[in-house]
Symmetry: C2
Subunit: 440 residues, 2 copies
């Protein structure tokens, strides 16, 4: 019965780099499989790529029914193209291409997190005006299905928290620092050599920009209210030392770069920062380039999804998953919205100052009687109370390193106590401050 | 724009027990939310339940627009009902109700794993004949989205393995045995008192029947070929002792009830049995009633989904997720298949004899020179080689307990060596044999 009803859906690709090669390979090799499984025949009919060198890696016989061009307009203006797959990356010219594709009545699939975290709202409006849709599962967590479940199976639940490890590069670096004792710089070099971190400019990963884009996208969908990149507070991992990892371990924690979004009483908080998490928590065992995200809802309690957060094959699987979702619902005449924008609320974004957490604070101090009392008083005067403390001698002179973990305190209070501590004679320097998240 | 396009979708429920109460509550409380998020208004217009007592727990004002009946036909014959939610459980009369609902052109949502693991193929055929669909996300893993992702985001990938913990009750029992040192019977009693295990007849859980149903359903979808309950090999956990858990721990393992489905060269293997898994593996940290399933694909590598595998609220979330998926695509005039049956292949089911694993074998033997050599020879003669062994004295007499872990061996070879070992004078008894799965 199904064989008789095969629908053909034509795909045009804009951008033919690393991920696009994965998409091309997956669609080519799995074409018959996808046809049998879903009743849809996916044909790539056009590819546009400025750098024609990038075509050369593909065997000629796989390319024979495809029209090439260096101009994206050739793809989105072709009336035969049903779905445009944008894999150019970055905000411009991707925004221009995608908005024109939507305005030409094409469905769009993209893996572009910068685009969606910054200009998602505009694109959804254009899609809705044209009665089509834009899908972007591959923009977060590579091959792990998370946007789809949030928009479908979990759509009826009230999600109030998402938390996890959403950047593979920094997780690889922290794993190497924790397990092999590498310094940050050594681990970064290692990640660069393996192609996990960019050589020229690794800052998008290590400064938390990549994770913040993903958190903006996930928060918008989870909390039904637009969260853009600049709404997300971010700290990277460059300040983490081997000493921090050792002290954390001694106190029962390991250090991960977390992305945490919460919604409470109509206020959204979204933050990306390194955090100490309990060593026995499942997230502590997510190593190397793997990602994992917890979703907390009033009905589901919690679920967690784990997998490869990057890589051409895993990411391609999500891109093609979106294409299949569109193709399943595809009707060239009637078109229609698949999921559409679900940001029907307009919530406030909390400032990081209002956030409550435990904190890990390391400082070098003079080692003499009364010092701890002085420091404890400053914390106490600012409504920060101490949960645990360890002291380490520094060399042979009368100096010591104090490592504190506080009880839950307001970000604002913690930082005002730090300002006052810096003025104490006995405090030589505040070496590091990292949030502590016990997670559920 | 969305407000103008609200579509109303009418729901009829058959069965009004524990999960159904959760579904009713979720739809009632989240009605406005779902409407805003998805553009669909879900109205429960009919409920049928033989035991009218079960209605009494719901406040009257929530029931005012709903017609009650003790006859399921009143639900599936009502032309106003668009989606029938079957929450009766068991194979009959559920099969009768569901097939009649499909034949009346209704979409069906069910949480019924027995039904789908035994009669899924027939129901899909009836659904297809009537151009509607049957969705059953809630039949496996409670609130965890897994069928949806397999049918959508992961649809283009070739899945070759699924493995995980799919039964909450047995995982609770094994956690209690491992962490609190309870015996199997004590842990079962505990589970019964908390309502995790049935009091009258806990065997569906502890004998692996429940897990086998879920594995049959997941394997059918993952491998595109029908796997029914009787295709699944199963062993329960009643034979696991505190001693096994101790010995396993000493050798770096913990014991979990696993469901494992694999596909290789057109052959499917599906088995549910307790297994030793490495203590540092993520599955080893899935405790209590939580479930977790790994999915391995050629493109995604692996993903894992984790969450509450049971409970009325989590399961209700999956039921309503399916309702939303149907409602999103719903057209009273045109109808149509949402995902449909994807079993387009017809693969062979391997016998358990062909399975390869490592094995944990515990036996009581006479403690005298040459015994180990005798035993090792029997294993060796049957192509089973030993990976590690520990020996424990038993009491004061000359007896010892030998605990072996083998290298990977064919099930058939392991069991023929066991038959021969039983005949050795020095072997007093074979106390237990459990598979060992190193997992990836």
């Amino acid at each position: 019965m199904r064989e008789k009803n095969i629908k053909k859906v034509n795909i045009g690709m804009i951008g033919f780099g690393y991920i696009a090669h994965g998409v091309f390979e997956l669609i080519s090799k799995q074409k018959e499989y996808i046809k049998k499984k879903t009743g849809r025949q996916l044909d790539i009919i056009r590819i546009a790529e400025k750098d024609l060198e990038k075509m050369k890696s593909v065997p000629e016989e796989m390319m024979k029914d495809i029209e090439f061009s260096s101009d994206a307009a050739d793809v989105y203006q072709d009336p035969e193209v049903d779905i445009v797959v944008e894999l150019v990356g970055g905000i411009e010219p991707a925004f221009d291409f995608v908005s024109k594709a939507l305005n030409s009545g094409k469905y769009v699939v993209t893996a572009n997190k910068d685009l969606m975290a910054n200009r998602g709202e505009e694109l959804y409006k254009i899609a809705e005006q044209n009665n089509v849709d834009i899908l972007f599962e591959a923009s977060v967590l590579g091959g792990i299905p998370i946007i789809g479940p949030l928009k479908t199976t979990l759509a009826s639940d009230r999600i109030y928290k998402i938390a996890g490890i959403v950047n593979g590069t920094t997780n690889y670096i922290l794993t190497k620092m924790g397990k092999d004792g590498l310094s940050f710089n050594e681990a970064l070099l290692d990640a660069q050599e393996l192609g996990y971190a960019e050589k020229a400019n690794p800052s998008a990963d290590v400064e938390g920009y990549d994770a913040a884009c993903k958190l903006a996208i996930l928060s918008s969908i989870a909390f039904n209210s637009r969260v853009v990149l600049e709404d997300v507070y971010k700290e990277g991992i460059t300040k983490i030392t081997g000493g921090d990892i050792e002290f954390a371990r001694e106190m029962g924690y390991c250090i991960k770069l977390l992305a945490i979004g919460t919604e409470e009483d109509g206020k959204i908080s979204a933050r990306v920062h390194p955090a100490l998490i309990p060593s026995e928590h499942i997230l502590a065992s997510i190593d190397d380039v793997f990602n994992a995200v917890y979703v907390y809802g009033k009905y589901i309690d919690r679920i967690m999804c784990y997998g490869r957060g990057a890589g051409d094959r895993a990411t391609a699987s999500s891109v093609v998953g979106d294409i299949v979702n569109i193709a399943r619902n595809f009707d060239r005449v009637k078109k229609g919205i698949i999921y559409g924008c679900s940001c029907f609320e307009n919530k406030t974004i909390s400032s990081i100052d209002e956030t409550m957490s435990k904190f890990y604070v390391v400082m070098d101090v003079a080692d003499r009687p009364g010092v701890l009392a002085n420091i404890a008083k400053v914390f106490g005067d600012n409504d920060v109370s101490i949960n645990s403390m360890i002291q380490k001698q520094i060399g042979m002179d009368n100096r010591a390193k104090l490592i504190f973990i506080t009880h839950i305190a307001a970000n604002r209070n913690l930082y005002s106590s730090i300002e006052k501590l810096k003025k104490l004679d006995v405090v030589e320097r505040i070496q590091n401050i990292i949030r502590v998240e016990d997670l559920d």
